[in-house]
């Protein structure tokens, strides 16, 4: 997550002090990602150095120093909001690697390995789901963060379920398509990537 761009977003509303930015960042992210104050000021100094924010013309470096976004900062923010994160190539996911490695090991029940991870992921998902029950803390921002985490965990569980079923069918001798090369989407093919 880009703290730098989140700061720009908060400053695009109106000028703010450093401590105010920290508090608003935390509440906007559902109080899920705490931020230390040193990180806030380091980020603001870099944004100022790059001409994306301006500070009050004062020698006071303390909590009362105000910051505002520049025109360049607004352009940078607008571009960042609309730039999709790079999802074009598969991440080096530890869970996927564990299952792929397990496949080649003699005497190992891969289904049992899959179940260990499935159970753990469901347990973590149960904890996130419990947070939904606490209406006193459940504001919109927190709800969106919790939803995002539950959907992320769900995608991993669904992948494990699919892998489990695919392995079961393969062991039963069902027709399984031969593995094909995994092409990168053409539009996102990086220079030097295998064709």
């Amino acid at each position: 997550m880009s703290v730098r761009h989140a700061m720009l977003a908060l400053l695009s509303e109106r000028p703010k002090y450093g401590l105010q930015l920290r508090q608003e960042f935390e509440s906007r992210t559902g109080d899920v990602w705490p931020l230390n104050v040193g990180q806030v000021y380091t980020t603001l100094q870099r944004l100022e150095r790059d001409g994306l924010v301006e500070s009050d013309d004062t020698s006071d470096e303390g909590p009362k120093k105000g910051f505002r976004i520049t025109a360049e900062g607004q352009t940078e923010l607008n571009n960042w909001l609309r730039t999709p994160p790079d999802l074009s190539s598969p991440p080096r996911d530890e869970l996927v690697i564990k299952i792929l490695v397990a496949l080649g090991l003699p005497g190992l029940d891969v289904h049992e390995v899959i179940q260990v991870h499935r159970r753990y992921l469901v347990e973590v998902m149960q904890q996130w789901t419990r947070l939904k029950e606490d209406d006193t803390r459940f504001d919109l921002n927190f709800a969106l963060v919790v939803d995002a985490e539950i959907f992320r965990l769900d995608s991993l569980i669904r992948w494990l379920d699919t892998a489990d079923g695919r392995l079961k069918r393969a062991a039963a001798g069902a027709d399984v398509p031969a593995p094909q090369p995994f092409p990168l989407p053409k539009a996102r093919r990086k220079a030097g990537a295998p064709q």
Partner: protein, 240 residues
């Protein structure tokens, strides 16, 4: 205390070479006030487990206890009475009667059990009101959205003195927002003291449960540990 208990339940369909072992030596107990999810792939035996728990089908071997009563000791009529009075069912496709209004769908099981029509309808209206459906009471199922139909079905399953709620993929046909509403209603029924079992392949649904049991090829292969405080997931997050 367990309201539902399955002891050493097995279910075999067919004979000899055509035998299919749908369930193999299942032990499962569900306390009053708790929600247990049974998770497994298609064909793992989830729905069979639910129909046996709800006395809609007999096991090949083993014993089911509902509210301390052994199902095998009950006559056919005794089981039917137990189902009407104590067990509520929720299915993926709602199973509402198309020719009855929402209120009539909910009041019907009470009336079948001998409750006076006016009293049954009053209880049905209260149940529909609890689920935010008071203004839909006179609507027929085809006038309701999928989410509303399932809320009516849950109202029907919990109305009266029922103590056990059995749900088979209760949100399978719903979007995630309505699925969450359905699970909140089922959980609320548990908080009022019902025991509930939800069978599903959907982890998001199962995650609402106090305990998740994993079924594979008719056997319970694993279950989650008790939840030990949700704040742990927040505490584990790294500072950015």
């Amino acid at each position: 205390m367990s309201y539902l208990e399955l002891r050493d339940i097995s279910k075999v369909y067919g004979e000899e070479a055509a035998e299919v072992h749908a369930l193999h030596r299942i032990d499962l107990s569900v306390d009053a006030g708790s929600l247990v999810a049974v998770m497994g792939a298609s064909g793992s035996g989830k729905s069979t487990l639910l129909t046996i728990a709800g006395s809609l089908e007999d096991p090949t071997s083993g014993e089911v206890y509902v509210g301390g009563r052994s199902l095998s000791s009950l006559s056919r009529n005794g089981k039917a009475q137990l189902r009407r009075q104590s067990i509520g069912y929720v299915f993926q496709d709602y199973n509402l009667l198309a020719g009855l209004s929402a209120m009539e769908n909910v009041s019907l099981p009470l009336e079948l059990d001998g409750v006076a029509a006016r009293k049954a309808q009053s209880a049905a209206l209260t149940a529909l009101g609890d689920f935010g459906l008071e203004d839909r009471a006179s609507h027929y199922p085809d006038m309701l959205s999928g989410g509303e139909r399932q809320r009516v079905a849950i109202a029907r399953a919990v109305v009266g003195e029922r103590r056990l709620l059995l749900a088979d993929e209760p949100s399978g046909a719903l979007d995630s927002t309505n699925a969450e509403v359905v699970m909140r209603l089922i959980l609320a029924a548990c908080h009022r003291g019902m025991a509930a079992v939800v069978v599903t392949h959907d982890a998001q649904l199962a995650a609402w449960a106090d305990r998740v049991v994993f079924l594979r090829d008719g056997r319970i292969v694993d279950q989650t540990l008790p939840i030990d405080g949700s704040e742990a997931v927040l505490a584990d997050l790294p500072n950015q």
